[in-house]
């Protein structure tokens, strides 16, 4: 009886609350249909070529180039990077390739899976690299190194090789895919601004700038104490209804059986 009730409730939740409950999808990265392929790459953090998840990259480069791309990530997403480097020409020895990922503050990101630093011998005609990143957190303390929403930078390079192989042509294929998107609830906090690098040229100040008093005037919203819209409202609401029904049932149980 109870299981049936739960099942029907679950069905109700799935049907009614799908807009509020973030959908989770797990799949290997595949190019989005109709995505325009990117044919360029940057050569530094500042000049990283922006790409989007699902947009294939195909670029001609030279062995030894450090190639940079950047993509945006939001809270709850898990990204997987896969890259293939093909060598049209013979090489003289084994080489080690790496795909490094950095966040908007140029902090190195860990890969949870994937061949991040593969080594190939001289005969191989291509090498495949991969990196699955951690799930992006919506908020983290300033001191932590958790992955946060914002820009991520991918750097593809060769870290070890015989020097004569430098400069030879290579073809690089790269794809950044969103393999999961769990969404984020506002209850877990939110960054005031995503970790997007400031790429403007800076200005050296002569003195500490005066405070603009209006900039601080945030203006408290009257409904600030209300929790964010989200699945918790649905769960708690249904819990309330269940409690009320159970209360009535409980009340009814205590009634004396009617005498006829």
């Amino acid at each position: 009886m109870r299981t049936a009730l739960f099942r029907s409730l679950a069905a109700l939740l799935a049907a009614g609350g799908s807009a509020l409950l973030p959908a989770a999808a797990v799949a290997a990265p595949t190019p989005s249909p109709g995505a325009t392929p990117v044919t360029r790459a940057g050569t530094s953090f500042l000049t990283a070529t922006p790409i989007t998840a699902g947009q294939p990259v195909r670029v001609d480069a030279s062995v030894g180039d450090h190639l940079y791309w950047s993509f945006a990530a939001t809270a709850g997403q898990v990204h997987e990077i896969s890259a293939t480097v093909s060598f049209p020409k013979a090489r003289s020895g084994a080489s080690t390739w790496t795909v490094d990922v950095f966040d908007g503050l140029r902090r190195r990101q860990a890969c949870t899976a994937g061949a991040q630093t593969p080594t190939v011998d001289a005969q191989a005609s291509s090498v495949m690299l991969g990196c699955t990143l951690r799930e992006v957190r919506p908020w983290a303390e300033p001191w932590s190194a958790d992955p946060l929403p914002g820009t991520y930078v991918v750097r593809l390079s060769v870290v070890d090789l015989p020097e004569p192989d430098l400069g030879a042509p290579i073809d690089v294929d790269l794809l950044v895919g969103t393999v999961a998107d769990h969404g984020a609830s506002g209850d877990d906090g939110e960054l005031a601004a995503p970790l997007q690098p400031n790429t403007k040229a800076g200005t050296v100040l002569n003195a500490v700038p005066p405070v603009d008093p209006e900039a601080d005037d945030e203006g408290d919203s009257p409904a600030d104490w209300l929790p964010d819209l989200g699945s918790r409202w649905v769960w708690t609401g249904i819990g309330g209804v269940l409690a009320a029904v159970a209360g009535v049932v409980g009340f009814a149980l205590t009634r004396r059986p009617r005498r006829r």
Binding site: F45, R106, G189
Partner: protein, 427 residues
């Protein structure tokens, strides 16, 4: 919290939008028109060795000429291109004279395609290879300014005129203040040439390519010219860090470039108000041969030297840059925050010192000066306070608990009612 504020703002109209837009970096600055077009100079070696016919049966010079023609044809309209040659005119044997032999055959500016092609077509392989001098002159041709300049050096032989050593020239040019990148293309599979070009490229953050066919050469030059158009506006402001916090330069959000010697500490200051978050990152470029293992450390300290937070990274082997970053929130510092809140004027900024240090070690023979390139990115944004505990619940356990609680309450209420009704009836 802010998420909800945003949704409230949507519901209530544009009431809160100004408040939200306040602390965010002003978007208007990004749309500032760029005054300067991308500037590129192709530097072509026309020394005697370019006569060698070893690229698919054709001479190196004819391949280079063909590539130049195609590049000039495909040049983006806004790009200003110049062409400089070296070793093109002097036929004699006097090294002193031959090593001064470099001319700009197409001045950097909007390109007159027919003229540029005609100038390239008349080139005949002739003299010496004064790469260092040609690089120095090319940097002068491109002039100074706030945007990145790019030199594409195409050569088949090592510099026959050192000193000046081309690699040292490249490092010196890169340290001069104007953002300059030298991309190199080697036309001959020669070890010395490769070493030299790799050194030049590494010193300026450029690339090295060994071009072994006309197609490869053309595609690569086109790619480099295109890249110049994409990236020329992203030149950082040059700043000189101090060796103590008190005298350090005060920096606004943005990107800065500096140089740091081996084992040096460089200090910068950033004003951060309560309720703001400091974000800083630093990259140090490996522009010269260094020992295998290395590291970079970025620390944020208070004015009294107490460490607030640090970011560090270490690495080994071949790399272009090593970077680290940190976040620090002013409101998190209890003392400063309460002090600031106590005063009615409020928001007296805390000055945070950023200390950049490195653990690079030079290989024997590696020049220590100028220091290694440092790129510092600073941003000050609104702080993100820690989230409060959730006010609502979620999950099956919650539903079960509420149901059981409801049931128990119902039972209790029912029992009480029965007892009360029974008592009332008896009376």
């Amino acid at each position: 919290m802010i998420n909800f504020r945003r949704s409230t703002a949507v519901l209530l109209g544009l009431l809160a939008t100004t408040a939200l837009a306040g602390p965010l970096p002003a978007a208007a600055d990004d749309e500032e028109p760029v005054a300067e077009p991308p500037r590129v100079e192709l530097v072509l070696d026309v020394s005697g060795s370019m006569r060698a016919a070893d690229i698919g049966g054709r001479s190196r010079i004819s391949v280079a000429q063909q590539a130049f023609n195609e590049v000039v044809d495909a040049l983006p309209a806004e790009t200003q291109l110049g062409i400089r040659v070296l070793g093109a005119t002097y036929r004699g044997k006097d090294k002193k004279v031959g090593c001064q032999d470099t001319q700009q055959i197409v001045p950097v500016g909007p390109v007159d395609r027919a003229r540029a092609k005609a100038a390239v077509a008349t080139l005949r392989p002739t003299g010496f290879t004064p790469v260092g001098l040609a690089l120095r002159s090319a940097a002068q041709d491109l002039g100074t300014g706030a945007t990145t300049r790019r030199i594409v050096l195409i050569t088949d032989g090592e510099d026959t005129c050192a000193p000046p050593d081309p690699c040292e020239v490249a490092r010196e040019l890169a340290a001069q203040g104007t953002s300059l990148v030298v991309d190199t293309l080697g036309l001959a599979p020669d070890e010395k040439v490769r070493r030299q070009l790799l050194c030049i490229a590494g010193a300026t953050g450029g690339t090295y390519t060994a071009a072994q066919s006309a197609e490869e050469l053309t595609d690569r030059i086109k790619q480099l010219v295109e890249r110049a158009g994409d990236t020329h506006t992203l030149a950082p402001t040059v700043v000189g860090g101090a060796n103590a916090c008190d005298s350090a330069p005060l920096l606004a959000p943005g990107v800065y470039a500096d140089r740091e010697a081996f084992s040096e500490h460089r200090y910068y200051r950033v004003p951060v108000r309560p309720g703001q978050e400091l974000r800083a990152s630093v990259s140090m470029a490996l522009d010269r041969p260094v020992n295998r293992d290395y590291g970079v450390l970025l620390r944020a300290t208070a004015a009294d030297g107490r460490e607030l937070v640090r970011g560090a990274d270490a690495g080994s082997g071949r790399a272009d840059v090593l970077s680290a970053g940190l976040r620090w929130s002013a409101s998190a510092d209890d003392e400063d925050a309460t002090e600031a809140e106590a005063t009615p004027t409020a928001a007296e900024p805390t000055t945070v010192c950023l200390v950049v240090s490195n653990s690079f070690a030079p290989r024997p023979g590696t020049a220590a000066t100028p220091g290694m390139p440092v790129e510092l990115t600073i941003d000050v944004v609104a702080a993100a306070p820690a989230p409060d505990g959730p006010d609502l619940g979620r999950g099956w356990v919650l539903l079960a608990l509420l149901t059981v609680a409801g049931l128990l309450t119902g039972l209790l209420a029912g029992l009480l009612t029965r007892w009360w009704v029974a008592t009332w009836r008896e009376n």
